[in-house]
Amino acid sequence: MAGALSNLKIVELGELVSAPYCSKLFADLGADVVKIERPGAGDRARTRGPFPGDTPHPEKSGLFLYLNTNKKGVTLDISTRDGFALFEMLVADADILIHNVIPVDMDRVGLSFERLHARNPRLVMTSITPYGLNGPYRDYRAEDMSLWCAGGVCVLNGGGAEHPELPPLKTFGSQSGFQGGVHGAAATMAAAFVQLREGIGQHVDVSVQESITSQLEMTFEFWPYMHTVATRLGQKPIQPVETMECKDGYLYLCCIEEHQWRAFVEVMGKPEWADEEIFKDRLARGANWDVLKVLLQEWVSQQTVLDLYKKVQARRVPFAPVSTMGDLLSSEHLKARGFFVEIAQPLAGKHRYPGAPLKYQRTPWELRMPAATLGQHNNEIFGGRLGIPSARLEELKAKGVI
């Protein structure tokens, strides 16, 4: 069965995470994605690793290999006239262009919706940029952590009230890129639906900052509703909702509803705690957390993670292990669901990768090919698809255009 999006032809002009993750979501559902990289160095993700044996190599970056499955790869310098002409030919033949070229560089190379749309009126063009295509920060420089900060989530994490001297703490990895990518994918999918139903194309302007600001849980509203600044320094109003150390690792304790607390104290063999005045409800436990924390930690430190996790889950209490990578790779649950997939790529070798984020019953997520090596499909795409004669391709290669 072909993937749900197997009729879509996509061109990606993407670096690092946001645009590549966006087009990966389409590619993994069957879309035909051609990824364009700069000749020579290629996508910056190729320099970031992790690398097998810690030896940097452009064809062995784990981040790049994960983000670019199921795509064909070409090299093209669109800042040259010849390069831009080839780019326009590719886009003229595509349904969707997904890019994360920053506005200042879009201006420099002449990448504009109007220009591309004139040749292909059905085109959906998605621009994923740090701060959006207009506004005073349009030309601001940004790396991934910049946007995790500017979007308002980073300030929520860190040492908390006990360690106010510690800075707000970023979440691991390139989370801004992933969020820009998946929010961009939702908007692009909507535009593709319009294209299918009505035959019209359009420009989709996705701001990574706004993608993050859209998921501030309840904290943004504390200002318009209560004139309160919410940061990492606030005391948690309810407890226990906290990480604790067991004999063999960390477990996240989570009693939000009263029945969960009662079940937990029974598992601990301390049912009388449920009747203690100072622990009587979640707010009391929050207020008296300094006392409760010590008591809980003493008991929890005698337990093992998996055993306690399973015991409380049997009573419908939502604790969870603080999973290490090893825990994830050996999880019996993830194994039974077949989550991890093995991908062999000629240079990087065979490794296990995260697999399908969702299971579609009829149009499955599918791994058809590993990430392309730099320029792997130049002949197929430029020669085969666009019909450029091989002598001309050699000429362009000599000029450094491809």
Binding site: C149, F172, G173, Q215, E221, P318, A336, P357
Partner: protein, 414 residues
């Protein structure tokens, strides 16, 4: 402008808390008619959480949390203890294109609205469950709450200050992540249905959906057999890469001092040279301690002290403006007040203010995208509980006014 992308698409929305409502919020933003099925006996948890305009919980309709993630949806309140409530839900399903829920696996089946049952009535339906652990596997019946899914995903063990225990992300990150992936998946399935006429079922595990986000950590392990070390705000390939203290907020809002921080990153030596000049120490660009990435990584503590000495005497907004003028990637570590006032978000008309009968007109976050041809707008403020029950029953589901009154009398409507 053309009509919104999902005009004419109706969503039967059994979701609650955050993951599911975040999913259907995206669909509402894109023009779908989202009808949330609610009950007064077990209202959505977020209706009972802060913030509230008067600082206290005295109504199910005043939570800023609920009102943020349910903008533009309709609320239908049913009492499922009553058999006729089920009939009402079935009539809605027959008129819907998509059914969404984020209960634990098996719950929607117990309610009688599992995919097999729904498919019999409406074969072309698209249905998705955004459960914590997915529909299959030995932990399928485990319960998942937002905050616990971050450590479960693996993100916590990778996040933290160097040498410290694992930390959280500071918010229930796996929830909105699942929600937006779910919205994408629903639209991909609608796209397929439009072409082939077939509906389908989608099984989402919030846990699995979050693991792509830590691919770098997982691959470090599968490539090198090693757990990555927690390393605070630093980055192996860039230095400086940190969050630095600025002057505290001068205004007194409460008794608390509100601290302010700035993120500063230099991706290469040229950016470092520009930063060195901007902080009045151009000579540091060629200082052997800092000239190359390797040197800056080696002397990163010292590098960070020098930057802190400069930032700590400045207001955050000025710091960002000065450094951006020098083409350095600086950003405010914005809190909710800063976001509210952020000039870029305001200039882009990102915020939405719609009248609400109980909280008045308050600012909420809007859509993170702009479509050039499809008109997308937040149609209305979040609904009060049951606000659209009569409208949906008599307008959409074909009940007469007297049938509606009779159902109300019998207690089928909550």
């Amino acid at each position: 402008m053309a009509k919104p992308p999902l005009a004419g698409i109706r969503i039967c929305d059994f979701t609650w808390v955050w993951a599911g409502p975040y999913c259907t919020l995206q669909l509402a933003h894109l023009g779908a008619d989202v009808i949330r099925i609610e009950t007064k006996t077990r209202p959505c948890v977020t209706r009972m959480l802060p913030p509230w305009p008067d600082g206290k919980f005295d109504s199910l309709n005043k939570s800023g949390y609920f009102n943020q993630y349910n903008q533009g949806k309709r609320s239908l309140s049913l009492n499922f203890k009553h058999p006729e409530a089920k009939e009402i839900a079935w009539r809605l399903i027959k008129q819907s294109d998509v059914v969404v829920n984020n209960f634990a696996a098996g719950v929607i089946e117990k309610m009688g609205f599992g995919y097999e049952a729904v498919k019999k009535v409406k074969p072309e339906i698209v249905m998705i469950s955004l459960s914590g652990y997915g529909d299959t596997g030995p932990y399928k019946d485990y319960v998942a709450y937002g905050p616990a899914q971050v450590p479960l995903s693996g993100l916590s063990s990778l996040t933290g200050y160097k040498g410290w225990p694992p930390m959280h992300a500071g918010f229930s990150y796996a929830d909105p992540n699942a929600g937006v992936h779910g919205a994408f998946a629903i639209m991909a399935a609608l796209y397929h249905r439009q072409r082939r006429g077939e509906g389908q079922y989608i099984d989402m595990s919030q846990w699995e959906c979050a693991m792509g986000l830590l691919a770098e950590g997982i691959l470090e392990y599968t490539m090198n057999g090693r757990e990555p070390e927690r390393n605070g705000n630093r980055d192996p390939w860039m230095a400086p890469h940190g969050i630095f203290r600025c002057l505290d907020l001068p205004e007194k809002i409460t008794d608390l001092t509100i601290d302010q921080w700035v993120s500063i990153i230099c991706a290469d030596d040229a950016e470092w040279a520009r930063l060195a000049s901007a902080i009045g120490k151009p000579e540091l660009a060629n200082d052997l301690r800092f000239k190359t990435l390797a040197a800056r990584k080696h002397n990163e503590d010292e590098l960070e002290s020098i930057i802190t000495a400069w930032t700590s005497a400045r207001r955050v907004a000025d710091t960002v403006a000065e450094l951006q003028a020098a083409k350095v990637a600086a950003a405010a570590c914005a809190d909710n007040k800063y976001i509210y006032e952020d000039s870029n978000l305001n200039a882009r008309h990102y915020f939405v203010e719609r009248a609400h009968p109980e909280v008045g007109t308050r600012r909420h976050c809007g859509m993170p995208w702009r479509l050039s041809e499809s008109a997308c707008e937040v149609k209305a403020a979040a609904p009060c509980l049951g606000q659209h029950t009569e409208e949906v029953l008599t307008g959409l589901l074909g009940y007469s006014k007297s049938e509606f009154e009779a159902l109300k009398e019998k207690g089928a409507l909550d």
